[in-house]
């Protein structure tokens, strides 16, 4: 797909008059603020369950505010890009609380099953829904083992300019791709750090000098449902 677009972009470099009054114009080579997303990076997150507080949902709130996810008419149709999950070990009684969102798999099953190519993985590992192509079939929601995706059931108004949302499409955590492309970190990470919890760190898994890579190299960590072999970009510590 990229190849064809590249060809078209290359062919469009010349303005071409193919008939009197019919001219093919080149599409402008726009001044870019970011990109293209590069396979040199693999963005990911490391969530430390020992630092995550059971009574805190700052990450969920920050996500909702950042991406303008308003309340829906009833919990059954409420979009959840990130949610807090409380766990209790039956034997020992040990309690855990941690956020779960799109795990940004290296082998995303949502993209495998998508009939239109709307679910896809960017070169830098961020898994997204291209809502221009999404037909709302929700096959990806069935395929995702993390229940990370939501369907938009209602007409949406007052969307954030960087997070278009609309009825009839599927959506999920974008890893705050607009912030990442601008050199920032996701809103949930920022909110968690702002409270001094620091339970989520964000960084480049491909860069051995990044904090996240160092932590992963130093301490034991786990992927949820590692048995599925999806190689998630979101890892957990202290599970």
């Amino acid at each position: 797909m990229t190849g064809r677009r590249d060809f078209l972009a290359g062919a469009a470099a010349l303005a071409l008059t193919i008939a009197p009054g019919v001219t093919l114009y080149p599409m402008a080579q726009a001044a870019l603020t970011s990109g293209p997303a590069s396979a040199k990076n693999r963005w990911g997150m490391l969530i430390d369950a020992n630092r995550c507080k059971a009574d805190c949902s700052a990450c969920v709130g920050a996500c909702g505010e950042e991406n303008a996810i308003g309340p829906a008419h009833g919990p059954a149709i409420q979009a959840q890009w990130i949610r807090k999950v409380d766990l209790r070990h039956k034997g020992s009684g040990r309690k855990l609380s941690l956020p779960v969102m799109c795990q940004h798999c290296a082998e995303p099953p949502c993209a495998d099953v998508c009939p239109t190519g709307a679910s896809f993985k960017r070169a830098d590992g961020i898994v997204l829904v291209d809502k221009h192509r999404c037909i709302g079939c929700r096959y990806c929601m069935l395929a995702c083992p993390y229940k990370a995706r939501s369907f938009v059931h209602e007409t949406v108004t007052d969307q954030a300019p960087h997070a278009p949302r609309g009825k009839g499409t599927v959506e999920s955590c974008t890893l705050c791709v607009h912030r990442v492309d601008a050199g920032g970190t996701p809103a949930c990470v920022e909110a968690c750090a702002g409270l001094g919890h620091g339970a989520i760190i964000f960084g480049d898994l491909n860069d051995p000098t990044s904090e996240i890579s160092k932590r992963l190299a130093e301490y034991p960590s786990a992927a949820i449902r590692a048995d599925l072999g999806l190689d998630p970009g979101v890892r957990y510590q202290g599970l």
Partner: protein, 136 residues
Amino acid sequence: MRAVLIMVAALFLISLGDGDTPACAGGLQPTVPKAKGGTCVRDAAFMRANHMNFLSHRRDASVREGRRALSEKLAGCLDCHAVAGSDGHAVGFDNPKHFCRACHDYAAVRIDCFECHNAKPGPLIRQSSASAGQAK
């Protein structure tokens, strides 16, 4: 031939009768709201014929490849072309005064951009100081 003439006359009357829509002021031509700001990313004639190609080309570049443009984007259009309503704020797509609707209502072209995108100009992406330095 007579049927064609009747159809043309009917269309003409319909366009006259739709006087509430600003796009049809005068009945025959759409009234395009004046934009603020200096020059557009391309000249008016080019944009008139090609804006849709711009938008669909850029949507793949930015969503799928992460190549985000400085000015050639839907939000850039809204920044200059947004029309203020009676309350002084930019009108939404539900209002026939919206600059996209000014022409698209006239041309009877239904666009669905604003079923997901916000039709009002938004503030720049918030970049707090905490997010300024990306964890590398």
